[in-house]
């Protein structure tokens, strides 16, 4: 790690040569790597070869960054259609890890990693952690889920990369979280913003003051959308600095964070190319316009993604940051282009709910998803109409039907869901794509 004195502030960089590189030099690296990438996927992945051939693009057509626009997009559906490993570019013997995310209509998506992929991932987070002042001597409490979900292990490797001490506690058991946070001197906490707010409430009830009783100074929050207002509330209530983290399971979980300037998330240009497009037309939008985030991976070996449609809405900012880093930033994600919901860090598509309900004959196909944030926790309630034939006039029968639906949903979504049976005809029927979500979360 190198330290630079910039004005009055000491700014630390994990890799200053790369992070402070002039944008034109960075773009030169991107161009070289892009040319290599298209060759690589064309020759290693039958999926990409077919995709390029169908679009009439040859690897040699891609010479400059502008040529990127000639390449076809890649979608989440492609990963599902090629389940489990149809898009991989390396033989199984090269893989050192799998992560798997829950499927929307049955099939999950599988992402494989080579040893280099894991290292690039850790490097990306290593730069990010350094940019928020987390490094050797810090204790990073990773309260993201470990396992198939990328959150826990992602932060874990990033923290080890910079020499922080990891407390791999995973999600839940708030009492233990607070106890160890105090006893082991946690300085940095990584979890969903709603879980942090919940933890803060619990701490307050127990008479634990974050400023007085813990050494916590930094929070890394993500896996669900949050806002500047929430940041202010969290920082005011607990005295910590709260930073946004970004990534998706298809790219490799958490990858990037804001820097101490808290003005956008740096996307490392030597590893990824960012585009913002109009989700309707697919046209690339000029810098500063809000649109759908599209990312191309430049260094991934096992599962490189070409122009992958992330589905999040954001703005691209290529102006150099006050922190001295030149890599492009994406501003806060403001929503989705599709109907995906993020509840307590878990992705939920209305299609998943629908497919569960279709298998329960006692209920009708009409449903409405209500999302709210109660006591800082996201809640999800499904209203459904009871089938006439299934109606029993015993209260217990109706309550057990609600329980049956709730447990079927839980097993597929991995999320506790409230279920409310409503009268026939109360759920609005709309022509075409029906509106199935009411999101009352005040972010």
């Amino acid at each position: 790690m190198t330290k630079y004195l910039l004005c009055d502030n000491m700014i630390e960089y994990w890799n200053p040569q790369i992070e402070r590189m002039p944008l034109d030099e960075l773009e030169q690296i991107q161009e070289e790597r892009l040319r290599h990438l298209v060759d690589y996927v064309y020759t290693h992945s039958p999926f990409y070869k077919k995709r390029f051939d169908e679009a009439g693009v040859k690897p040699e057509d891609i010479r400059t960054l502008e040529d990127l626009q000639k390449l076809p997009f890649t979608y989440k559906q492609d990963l599902r259609d090629n389940y489990p490993k149809g898009m991989f570019c390396v033989p199984d013997t090269q893989l050192v890890r799998y992560h798997v995310s829950s499927g929307t209509t049955g099939k999950p998506t599988v992402v494989g990693y080579t040893k280099n992929d894991i290292h690039e991932w850790a490097k990306s987070l290593g730069r990010a952690l350094t940019s928020i002042g987390v490094g050797r001597g810090d204790v990073l409490q990773v309260s993201y889920g470990y396992g198939l979900f990328t959150g826990g292990l992602g932060l874990h490797y990033g923290a080890e990369e910079v020499g922080s001490t990891v407390l791999p506690i995973s999600v839940g058991n708030t009492d233990k979280q607070l106890e160890l946070m105090q006893d082991l001197g946690t300085t940095t906490l990584a979890c969903t913003p709603s879980y942090f707010l919940y933890m803060a409430e619990e701490a307050k009830d127990k008479g634990i003051d974050f400023q007085e009783d813990t050494g916590l100074k930094t929070g890394i929050f993500g896996a669900e959308p949050w806002t500047e207002e929430m940041r202010k509330r969290m920082e005011d209530a607990t005295g910590i600095k709260a930073y946004d983290v970004f990534g998706t399971s298809e790219l490799s979980g958490p990858l990037f964070t804001e820097c101490t300037c808290q003005d956008g998330i740096h996307i490392w240009g030597d590893q990824f190319i960012v585009e913002i497009i109009d989700p309707e037309t697919g046209d690339t939008l000029p810098e500063g316009e809000r649109g759908e985030l599209v990312i191309t991976t430049l260094k991934k070996e096992a599962l490189p993604l070409i122009r992958y449609r992330i589905g999040d809405c954001t703005i691209l900012n290529k102006q150099p940051c006050e922190c001295g880093r030149t890599h492009p930033r994406i501003m806060r994600v403001t929503g989705r282009v599709d109907d995906m919901l993020i509840i307590r860090g878990i992705n939920v598509f209305p299609g998943q709910v629908e497919s569960v309900l279709m298998k329960i004959p006692e209920v009708e196909e009409h449903f409405m998803i209500h999302v709210d944030r109660i006591n800082e926790m996201d809640t999800m309630k499904i209203q459904i109409e009871m089938n006439d034939e299934a109606f029993s006039d015993k209260v217990n029968d109706i309550i057990s039907l609600e329980k049956k639906v709730a447990s079927a949903l839980k097993s597929v979504l991995n999320l506790s869901v409230g279920v409310e049976l409503v009268e026939h005809g109360t759920i609005p029927r709309s022509i075409g794509k029906s509106k199935k979500i009411i999101d009352n979360r005040k972010l």
Binding site: E385, M386, D388, F391, S392, D393, K394, V395, I398, I399, E420, L421, V422, E423, H424, G425, T426
Partner: protein
Amino acid sequence: MDEKFIKQISLFAENKPGHLANIASSFKEASVNIRAFTIAEAGDFGIIRMVVDKPEKAHRVLHDAGFTVSETDVLGIQMEDVPGQLATIAEVLGKKGVNIDYAYAFVTKTEKAFLIIRVNDLKTAVETLYEQGISLLDMGDVQSI
């Protein structure tokens, strides 16, 4: 034995204002008379149970109005309006292993008390009550109350 059953109309209703008025006015238009009525309430929803003089018509009217409605066979027991009657009924049914899912009562202008019960075993219940000399209402009785 079927003639000793009473057709009860049950409907699923969310707890919200003005709901009962809709039901009542549907009945008024169809000139259906309600003889007994109860609401079992459980949080967000309730189940309305009614004994009416024209159950088929009531069912049709409510169904057409979009309600989730069902017809359930229940028993109507005529009781003397004196203490101890309910205890006797509950005791004899209990001894025979008949479970009462729910019950509600109403009193007529002729000073008779009636108890409506839903049981898990209609046949045994009817036989038991019959042996005890307890009289049961039929649909004809309901219409003429």
